[in-house]
């Protein structure tokens, strides 16, 4: 029941709209099916299968709107949810920023659905976990990991005739291996639309290698260092910046994208010219949704071009107020890289630190996008182009905007996953100078 096909979805949403008495009505449906296994201490701890289907109805009378959601699908329930959203709308004050719904539009199909992932069974998950645990046991390490696969669909329809539908699949795998003395820890994270690309054996092997090579780390003085961020580390750092690509916050003067004295930084050289960041839902390695909740199509959009801010997202309301076309927020992010491998980046480094992963990143100052967080699961000192020894974890205070001004070199872009949101990105390994570490941590 959780995954409805396009025609069945259309019929259901048309039925819901037929119950509407509002000036405007928008209905959306989201269904997901999937499962997960969690393991720790080389044994499964919990496992589950989850299936959800939720209908959301937003009704508007003039500029008053209300939203109600339901997970029952009888005719009576559908009538009730429409009536409730109308009741809420009548109680709500007028929203001066209300934007009329958009009419019919054509959207290209989203390429993010892979049958092999949709067909995953609990056995497939157990098999993937068994492979991972075996690697850890052979390496005499303790594994803790998580695998989760999801198949989902999204649809919207409104009283002006707009209809959009897409499906997607996703599998995320994260693995931590630790030695029994608690002196070494390694991690790997993977995210794919296609389950067949996931190799839990290979990922666990990398985590195990990091665990063994990070043992008995030495302390170094905090300070400014040349740093190579592996894609998993860079992704988590930059994800915090991607969220801020919003014109309204910038124009209102409360974002790192605000221009001192007013307006935003579009057109400004904000980063090193090696930095180009774009979104493209049709990217073969990172497919994304092709439309958004405002009923706008998503196309390839360049956000940072050779360090210059090219675009910020404009909601329909803000675009109208500023007299520009709406620019939807991106549904994926690709950062262009170079041709160097990670090994080549290390080889070209006289003195520096290789960072495998970052942890617990939080915003310190919105003005400069200053972030704090720590290294985790493998931090290594590089000298004369070679990894010399593991170093203890370090806390950093650094802004990704400042960091992208200090880029020395970029490696090959690869698909990477955020360790907090589990969203996938295309990010290269990044070598930067003057990355600021402010204290040491005893954590392993």
């Amino acid at each position: 029941m959780a995954i409805l096909h396009k025609e069945a979805t259309k019929a259901l949403l048309q039925k819901v709209l037929s119950f509407s008495k509002a000036d405007e009505c928008e209905v959306s449906l989201r269904g997901t099916e999937g499962g997960n296994i969690r393991y720790a201490r080389n044994a499964i701890s919990t496992a589950g299968d989850i299936s959800t289907l939720t209908l959301s109805v937003t009704s508007s009378f003039g500029k008053r709107s209300g939203t109600a959601t339901i997970n029952e699908f009888t005719d009576d329930a559908l009538k009730r949810v429409v009536a409730r959203s109308e009741e809420l709308a009548k109680l709500a004050p007028e929203n001066p920023e209300y934007m009329p719904l958009r009419g019919p539009a054509e959207f290209k199909d989203a390429p993010g659905y892979v049958e092999a992932t949709a067909n995953m069974t609990p056995d497939d998950r157990a098999e993937a976990v068994a492979k991972s645990i075996n690697v850890a046991k052979e390496a005499k390490l303790e594994a803790a990991g998580f695998i989760e696969n999801t198949t989902g669909f999204n649809a919207i329809m409104n009283s002006k005739g707009l209809f959009a539908y897409d499906t997607d699949t996703n599998v995320v795998f994260t693995i931590t291996t630790r030695n029994s003395a608690g002196t070494g820890s390694g991690f790997a994270g993977r995210g794919f639309n296609d389950f067949r690309k996931l190799d839990t054996h290979e990922a666990t092997r990398i985590a195990a290698m990091k665990a063994n090579s990070s043992a008995d780390a030495k302390a170094i003085e905090p300070g400014k260092y040349t740093v190579i961020l592996e894609p998993i580390a860079a992704t988590y750092m930059l994800e915090n910046m991607f969220r801020g690509l919003d014109a309204r916050n910038a124009d209102e003067g409360r974002s790192f994208m605000s221009k001192p004295g007013g307006g935003n930084r579009i057109g400004e050289q904000l980063m090193d010219e090696k930095v180009t960041i774009y979104s493209d839902p049709f990217h073969p390695e990172l497919p994304g949704p092709t439309w958004n909740r405002d009923g706008l199509p998503l196309e390839k959009t360049t956000w940072i071009d050779k360090g210059v801010v090219k675009n910020l997202a404009y909601s329909p309301y803000w675009a109208q107020k500023k007299g520009v076309q709406p620019v939807p927020m991106p549904s994926n992010i690709i950062m262009e890289g170079g041709t160097a491998s990670l090994e080549e980046l290390i080889k070209s480094t006289e003195k520096g630190i290789l960072v495998s992963r970052l942890w617990y990143i939080r915003l310190v100052d919105a003005q400069t996008l200053l972030l704090t967080g720590l290294t985790r699961d493998g931090t290594f000192y590089i000298e004369n182009g070679e990894i010399k020894y593991p170093v203890k974890n370090l806390r950093f205070n650094e802004s990704p905007v400042i960091m992208l001004n200090n880029v020395e070199a970029l490696g090959k872009t690869e698909r990477s996953v955020s360790i907090e949101s589990y969203r996938s990105f295309m990010i290269p390994p990044i070598k930067v100078r003057d990355f600021t570490f402010t204290s040491l941590s005893d954590a392993v």
């Binding site: 939203t67 004295g261 942890w359 617990y360 939080r362 400069t368 967080g373 204290s439």
Partner: protein, 544 residues
């Protein structure tokens, strides 16, 4: 909602995007119908179907949670109500032990046949996974408590307060901040009601009604000439209370350099003061980095307690079950076994508690049907205990669970979550002013801000909302760009003064995240104002 998402939506002031980040599951609450609860006899009947079905399939233990979870969110910015969202989620979660292994399944289809099918599925999962466990689950005994109920002692059910009244309050708050010179404000009201029914094969049938409320705001002021901006969040605390929390009461206020709140919150006053303080903050001196004696108000200290005491004393982290996500803990079992691990200075006494009235963690029974308790975690500075549930109690030699099991909904499996963890007030009569007057070079910090801590809970960094410089026992003015970094053990050993119980207040987290898939829980942390000597302060100002 994941904590991260919530921080993002309030922290970044993204306004219209707010709803996209709140997982609105379940059906809308009917406005026209009263806030009825599901009949207890009906819930017992459904639970018994699950218990019997699981037993007949081979479960050696079963618990059943039938939950009706209501949320209401009122979201405003400046002069606009952006949205009002009502959600309801109702269903059943069945957890079983079979072949010594846990199995879990949940459903929102409460027909008799489907409940029996779901129970059978939970048993099948347990049997399937039992091949991949290393030791069978060992449950601490828990006698059945029979048919009992527990209700949060609220005075006014916030769900029954008309939406207009709530929207009007938030719009007045916004108006006060804007009149006070703020450029932008977002204000929010979050309400939760958990109607939870628990039944187990031990013979417990427990009906509980739990309420939580969190009013909060985020104000921004911009200097258009320089492009600099400053922000101030509310000094409210999320509470396990009804709408009475929002009824101001002079007796519950502490007047000082800024007004602080005990068990009643004056949101209008806080917004007015917040807007004025932003003007001062913009002119404030940027902090000189170095060592300072910190005087930390409970509206700030709760978060430091949460991160540096609450999380590392979670037994599942100590044992490695969170290694792949939240991390492990520096408070390893050998430190506890030594009975002399010096966590903090001798005046540091920290209790775990699931009973404190008005707190977020207060319930009658946890999600394993264990009656709630209070116990010491840190006694006279020494680590003496952890937080455990039924399948962990034996690890620390307990013959009973400490009642720390929780699940965010009927659809998720319950696991070990933090009880309220609170610093006990000082035993000597002492006010925050008494503490400040003895500080030569220090900073008084009010309100919680940025926070980050490593995966074993050694190294942390915290910001705040308001920073006041203390020189020779006097507050001399406001500072900005302040964050402090320390190591948990060093920090708590530098605790040299704690104000007495007159100053004791609760703070808390509404959306504490843990587990994979991530679940949120709500937890309070109480303290009185406390002094920490010689803490490293950094300057966070940068230029882009």
């Amino acid at each position: 909602m994941k904590r991260r998402d919530f921080l993002h939506l309030t922290g970044m002031g993204i306004g219209a995007g707010i709803l996209a980040q709140i997982p609105v599951l379940g059906k809308a609450i009917p406005l026209e119908t009263p806030w009825h609860t599901v009949d207890v006899a009906r819930k017992k009947e459904l639970a018994d179907i699950a218990l019997e079905a699981a037993r007949s399939k081979g479960a050696t233990y079963t618990d059943v949670r039938i939950g009706r979870y209501l949320n209401q969110f009122v979201i405003t910015r400046e002069d606009k109500v952006q949205n009002v969202v009502n959600t309801e989620s109702y269903g059943i979660g069945i957890r079983v032990l079979a072949n010594g292994c846990w199995g879990f399944a949940s459903t929102d289809d409460l027909s008799r046949d489907n409940i029996a099918r779901t129970a059978a599925l939970a048993v099948a999962i347990a049997k399937e996974n039992s091949r991949l466990i290393t030791t069978p689950v060992e449950l601490a005994p828990q006698k059945g408590v029979g048919e009992v109920s527990w209700k949060a002692p609220i005075q006014r059910n916030a769900f029954e307060v008309p939406i207009k009244e709530k929207a009007d309050l938030l719009l007045s708050v916004n108006d006060a901040a804007l009149k006070g010179g703020a450029n932008y404000i977002g204000s929010y009201l979050f309400l939760v009601n958990e109607q939870k029914y628990f039944a187990s094969s031990d013979g417990s049938y427990i009906d509980q009604d739990i309420h939580r409320i969190w009013p909060t705001f985020d104000i921004t002021k911009i200097d258009s000439a320089t492009g600099k901006f400053e922000r101030r969040s509310a000094l409210s605390a999320p509470r396990g209370m009804g709408y009475e929390y929002l009824m101001p009461n002079e007796a519950e206020k502490i007047h000082g350099i800024t007004t602080l709140y005990r068990n009643r919150y004056d949101m209008l006053e806080d917004a007015r003061q917040g807007a004025a303080q932003l003007g001062q903050k913009m002119k404030a001196k940027s902090v000189e980095p170095g060592k300072y004696d910190l005087v930390l108000d409970p509206s700030h200290l709760w978060l430091t307690i949460h991160e540096s005491v609450g999380h590392p004393t979670e037994l599942d982290r100590v044992l490695g079950y969170e290694a792949n996500f939240a991390g492990t803990s520096f408070l390893t079992l050998d430190k506890w076994e030594s009975k002399k691990f010096n966590f903090g200075s001798p005046i540091v006494n920290i209790k775990a508690d699931k009973k404190q009235p008005g707190s977020l963690g207060a319930v009658g029974y946890d999600d394993e049907g264990v009656p709630t308790q209070e116990w010491d975690l840190i006694k006279n500075g020494i680590l003496v205990n952890y937080q455990a549930i039924r399948d962990q109690a034996h690890v620390i030699g307990l013959d009973h669970s400490q009642g720390c099991c929780y699940s965010q909904s009927w659809s998720d499996v319950q696991f070990q979550r933090m009880p309220n963890v609170s610093l006990q007030p000082g035993k000597q009569r002492m006010s925050p002013q008494d503490i400040i007057k003895n500080v030569e070079r220090g900073i008084y910090i009010v309100g919680d801000g940025s926070f980050s801590i490593d995966q074993q809970r050694y190294n942390f960094q915290f910001g705040g909302q308001l920073f006041y410089e203390i020189k020779n026992g006097q507050i001399t003015g406001m500072l900005k760009d302040v964050a402090y970094q320390s190591n948990t053990q060093e920090f708590w050993n530098s605790c040299k003064a704690i104000a007495d119980e007159r100053d004791y207040r609760l703070g808390g987290s509404f959306f504490d995240g843990k587990g994979q898939p991530e679940q949120v829980s709500a937890v309070s942390h109480g303290s009185s104002t406390a002094r920490f000597n010689g803490v490293n302060v950094i300057n966070t100002a940068r230029k882009i």
